[in-house]
């Protein structure tokens, strides 16, 4: 079977929704800047690209109109390149990668640009016209607020507030250290917002300590354990990776970051959606023929500290290997853009630090998990 590789990764800076530096930037323009830079940096003939697949959790308003096609046109990709928008909420852009990998293995293309975009400033979570199915809303937790699911996971898996805060403080520390070490400089594509260049992430709070976090009020339940400090912030951002057949990458001399070893999707109860990565990661590792002990790098999306810790506990992950450059608690979580960020990051970490296997996995609202196992080349 044809091998599929990750041959490039780029993202926009991530900024807080509403008050951040990207709040006045259209998401299609933001994604176009990232796609344009990724293609330019790779040096490929852009006519080779089969399709641009973009994940987006709320594809309406400025990120509607099949935003992938819009972004392709804005980015100046040849008219021959396709464009598909894909929605699996937070798993959207990881699914975009999975879709492209499948197409390549089908022989339906050699190189794809896969990414995601979300302006949580400009398109609100749940969209402009939320209309849940009333019967399902009554009878299930399908539409339960994400914060509430984190509280349920914290309760059910026994994750006390102090543990969540220690984890969040560590995520902030690692992100700050990675930023200081210049580890984000390669991946970030500076974007222009009304004439001003934005080149740095804006969500980080490097001064965070367990003490500062302990002072915050619960954000979702009066007696809850989850706070704004242990939840990923509403974020604006875009990301993209180059997904190619290994043959194509080698023929063109592309810098191969990692090979995709396996992928998986799983479902779970909506009220504990945060635990979704456990089953999907097990499935993906089994398909790759490895166990947790074989992993050198893990990117586990930090939607909430509570669910990240629960997943780490259930999977038996080594905290030292999880989110080495910090996670979404510090960097932010632009829903549709996160999947491609953590796959790109995991692949980059394999390339940077050696090691053989990496796992990128995330939870998905409504009750799903998604996972990708990468292998160093």
């Amino acid at each position: 079977m044809r091998k599929v590789v990750i041959a490039g990764y780029a993202r926009s800076p991530f900024h807080l929704a509403g008050k951040g530096a990207l709040a006045r930037l259209r998401p299609d323009d933001m994604a176009a800047a990232v796609v344009r830079a990724l293609v330019a940096r790779s040096g490929i003939n852009d006519g080779d690209i089969e399709d641009l697949v973009l994940g987006c959790a709320f594809p309406e308003g400025e990120q509607g109109f099949n935003v992938a096609r819009v972004v392709g046109l804005l980015a100046g990709l040849p008219l021959s390149v396709g464009g598909a928008t894909l929605n699996r909420f937070c798993g959207s852009s990881m699914s975009a990668i999975h879709y492209a990998a499948g197409q390549i293995q089908l022989g339906a293309g050699e190189v794809f640009v896969c990414g995601g975009v979300e302006s949580m400033s400009r398109v609100p979570m749940a969209g402009f016209n939320p209309s849940p199915n009333p019967e399902l809303a009554r009878s299930s937790a399908a539409y339960l607020g994400m914060g509430e699911t984190a509280e349920i996971v914290a309760e059910r898996y026994g994750i006390p507030r102090q543990a969540q805060e220690a984890f969040a403080a560590e995520s902030q520390r690692r992100a700050a250290a990675a930023q200081a070490a210049g580890h984000f400089a390669d991946e970030i594509v500076p974007v222009s917002v009304k004439g001003v260049e934005v080149a740095q992430d804006g969500c980080l709070r490097p001064a965070t300590t367990v003490e500062t976090l302990a002072g915050l009020k619960p954000a979702f339940r009066t007696e809850g354990s989850v706070t704004a400090g242990t939840s990923s912030p509403l974020t604006d951002g875009a990301s993209a990776v180059l997904v190619a057949s290994e043959d194509y990458a080698r023929a063109k001399g592309l810098p191969i970051l990692a090979r995709i070893a396996s992928v998986a999707i799983s479902g779970c109860a909506p009220e504990v959606m945060g635990i979704g990565p456990v089953h999907s990661s097990h499935k993906a590792m089994q398909r790759a023929g490895i166990t947790v002990d074989d992993l050198d790098v893990v990117e586990l999306n930090e939607a909430f500290a509570a669910q990240a810790l629960a997943c780490m506990g259930e999977l038996g992950l080594d905290p030292a290997k999880v989110n080495i450059d910090g996670g979404a608690l510090a960097l932010g979580h632009p829903l549709g853009a996160t999947g491609a960020r953590i796959v790109g990051k995991a692949a980059s970490l394999l390339a940077r630090g050696g090691g053989r296997y990496a796992l990128a996995t995330q939870c998905i609202g409504g009750g799903q998990g998604i996972a990708t196992v990468l292998e160093a080349v």
Partner: protein, 772 residues
């Protein structure tokens, strides 16, 4: 006109300067706010900090976010040259003549000739301010004395000098009146002008008398507060509010500048206790407390100081004033013992002093009455008070006590200062003749109409007046302008009458507030006897009356001011156009008492929000915004904010000067008459059950966070049912009639709930919402 004012500069960013700048911005006029230059990276930090404080001021200094953006800050060294961009420069720096002289000298070099320059001084005579200035400067100079806080206090005293250009004074006065919404009172160039001159005398008399008579502050405030129609805080409460340190300051200034034989000189004195309080930081509400303080150590206990010993003790219930003396000044003055003695000791000398000042500080009694009413929040001016007592009685008592009787008071012997003759209000002039009370052009007061005519229609809760040119005015008349079945009956009668004989109708009154909404007391009575049929009749009756107004074949213009809440908001929403006073506080607050809007407010708000181009398309955004606004009982803090929220349309007008509201509303109504067609009935596109599920989920989140009580979620559920169109499918439109029926259905479900009854009872008993 030669002096149009398109940009204003305020020099001095203290409390007054910053507040004036904010009010200019509220008028939609750009302002440059300058203060002293500081060392450091930001040389304009003083003015910038003042602007930041303005943004957080409580009560709010700005009427809207857009207004706040109109203020630009700077400093005297880098930016003074920019006064050349401005048409009016208002100086509001420290009350030191040398500092003002120095700044004016610098202004001479940078301002354009013809740019008005005014001082906000409260104490320094104009002739002294312009000493050493050029002739051109003197011609462009005047005093404009604002009161604190400038947004809310309606008085502005204007003093022009011998050389002031009358056209320029007229232009500044017109701007202050029409754009800043102030009532201009022309004063002569005398120390303290009018309001502070009389007001300081009044406060000093009242404080002196309390000490001399050995009265407690609680008793003094009970006597010289509400019964006299002065702020209900009473004297000592008022001094606490404005600051104890202001008194020695005003005293020093007035004793230095008034003639030696001025009666104020005889009563001015420093009470050692008050000086000690100031020294100890008891400067009033801005300090550690004043004559009253809140003792937090004792658990938020209100305490009052003992004037004899200087010690604080729990505030006592004041002496009881008989009901008749609460309303009738003669009865108050006739009370035996300390109460009557104190009332006279406060009023007698103050009224005599005011009478002696006619001709001295202003040309007529009207100016003095207006200044005291708008500058010191007196319900009646000094001469209106004399009329309530009787000019002869006041004169006789002064004489009997060996005091001089001022000529003006003698002139009024056997007469009153005001009278109504031939339907016109008149005042007694210095010449001993009566003169008509004339209103500036563009000012129409219902008070004058009522004095001159009989109502076209009238019942216990409303009246209809002919305000000329084919326009009628619907007035609410019940306590708090509460709305009930009588109002609805009168609306129905009015529509029939206007259709036959008139062109347009304006909804307006001159109470303290436009309307606090439906008569809850009456509703509660009906609920307690389970008279559901009566309640439902009231709801349906209100809907019919309001919709009949909306679809009447003539224009209906609502002119709200002050509070327009609940049903008071709904009549505004059902009008064809609105001309609102800038200080309008409008909101659908029914949820606070466990109800939902029942007189068409739900549909009207959705319709306005649906027309808002800033909201995204689709059935949900307008509904979600209406839900948020109503379920949280949001009340706009100004007419400008009401436009931002969506209670008012962008096309609705805002009048800055309260006295111009009726004339503006009438003009608006008349402008709509030609070719008028009633609005078309809307067909709402509502999201149905799916949208309701989204709102319910949001409410559950709120409840989980502790931001909604259990009964809040019930009320919100009923509200969501109405706003989303009930069981209608999104693909089908919902008619206005169907939406009104939903309002009735859900309203009636709520009134049957004991928790709603509990909320209404608590609101009526305490004025505060019950969070059950």
């Amino acid at each position: 006109m030669g002096h149009s004012i398109a940009k204003v500069c305020v020099l001095g960013a203290g409390t007054m300067g910053a507040g004036i700048a904010a009010q200019v911005a509220n008028a939609g006029v750009p302002v440059l706010l300058l203060d002293r230059t500081t060392d450091g990276p930001d040389r304009s930090i003083i003015a910038r900090s003042a602007l930041e404080r303005l943004g957080k001021a409580e009560p709010a200094a700005f009427m809207s976010k857009a207004a706040a953006r109109l203020v630009e800050v700077g400093n005297f060294d880098d930016d003074l040259g920019r006064v050349a961009e401005c048409d009016w420069v208002i100086e509001a720096i420290v009350e030191k003549i040398e500092a003002k002289h120095a700044l004016y000298a610098r202004l001479e070099d940078v301002r354009r000739a013809g740019t008005a320059v005014s001082s906000n001084t409260s104490t320094i005579p104009l002739e002294r301010l312009i000493e050493g200035r050029s002739e051109a400067f003197a011609q462009d100079f005047l005093i404009t004395h604002f009161f604190n806080p400038p947004r809310y206090m309606r008085l502005i005293e204007v003093v022009s000098g011998a050389r002031s250009n009358p056209d320029l004074v007229a232009a500044v006065s017109a701007f202050a009146d029409q754009r800043l919404g102030k009532s201009v009172v022309a004063c002569k160039d005398r120390p303290g002008f009018i309001a502070n001159r009389v007001g300081t005398f009044w406060l000093q008399s009242a404080v002196n008398a309390a000490f001399d008579l050995g009265l407690s502050v609680e008793d003094a405030d009970a006597i010289a507060g509400k019964p006299m129609g002065v702020p209900k805080t009473g004297i000592f409460g008022l001094v606490d509010l404005v600051g104890l340190d202001l008194m020695p300051y005003l005293k020093a200034s007035l004793t230095a500048s008034l003639p030696k034989d001025d009666p104020y000189q005889a009563i001015a004195r420093d009470e050692p206790l008050i000086l000690k309080m100031i020294a100890d930081g008891y400067t009033g509400r801005k300090g550690k407390g004043g004559f009253y303080r809140i003792n937090r150590e004792a658990g938020k206990v209100k305490e009052a100081i003992d004037l004899a010993t200087g010690t604080y003790a729990k505030a006592r219930k004041p002496m009881s004033i008989p009901a008749v003396a609460q309303k009738d000044l003669r009865a108050l003055l006739a009370l035996r013992g300390k109460a009557g003695a104190y009332a006279w000791a406060v009023l007698g000398p103050t009224l005599a002093y005011a009478a002696a000042l006619v001709g001295e500080v202003a040309d007529d009694v009207l100016a003095i009455d207006t200044a005291m009413k708008l500058g010191y929040n007196w319900k009646y001016g000094p001469f209106e008070l004399i009329d309530r007592i009787g000019a002869d009685e006041v004169a006789q008592r002064l004489e009997a006590e060996g005091h001089a009787v001022p000529p003006m008071l003698k002139l009024a012997a056997g007469r009153s200062f005001y009278r109504v003759e031939g339907g016109q209000r008149q005042f007694l002039g210095l010449d001993g003749e009566y003169h008509p009370v004339t209103r500036p052009e563009g000012v129409l007061l219902l008070e004058d109409v009522k004095a001159a005519s009989k109502p076209l229609l009238k019942n216990g809760s409303a009246a209809l007046w002919d305000i000329g040119d084919g326009v009628v005015c619907l007035e609410f008349t019940a306590k708090m302008n509460a709305l009930d079945g009588e109002v609805m009956t009168l609306i129905a009668q009015s529509i029939a009458l206007v259709q036959r004989h008139y062109k347009a109708l304006v909804v307006y009154n001159e109470g303290s507030h436009f309307s606090a909404g439906a008569n809850l007391g009456q509703a509660l009575f009906a609920l307690n006897i389970a008279a559901w049929g009566e309640v439902e009749k009231l709801v349906r009756g209100g809907q019919q009356a309001y919709k009949a107004l909306k679809y009447a074949p003539f224009p209906v213009v609502a002119a709200p001011f002050g509070m327009a809440l609940g049903g008071g908001c709904e009549i505004v929403l059902n009008s064809d156009a609105v001309q609102a006073h800038a200080e309008t506080y409008i909101g659908l607050v029914e949820c606070g008492v466990g109800l939902i809007p029942g007189w068409g407010g739900c549909g009207e708000l959705i319709q306005r929000l649906s027309e808002n181009p800033r909201l995204p398309k689709g059935p949900m955004p307008a509904v979600a915004k209406a839900f948020e606004t109503i379920s949280t009982a949001t009340v706009a803090k100004s007419a400008a904010q009401a436009q931002e929220i969506g209670f008012l349309r962008p096309s609705d007008g805002i009048t800055m000067n309260r006295d111009r509201l009726l004339a503006d509303a009438k003009a608006r109504a008349l402008a709509m008459v030609e070719g008028y067609t009633p609005p078309e009935r809307p067909l709402f596109r509502l999201p149905g059950a799916g949208g309701r599920a989204a709102l319910d989920l949001a409410v559950q989140d709120f409840a989980a966070k502790g931001l909604a009580t259990p009964y809040d979620t019930v009320v919100a559920g009923k509200l969501a049912h109405v706003l989303t169109g009930g069981d209608a499918d999104m693909a089908d439109g919902v008619s206005e009639a169907e939406l009104l029926a939903l309002e009735v259905e859900q309203f009636m479900a709520l009134v049957r709930d004991v928790r709603t009854v509990a909320r209404i009872e608590t609101m009526l008993a305490t004025g505060k919402p019950l969070r059950n």
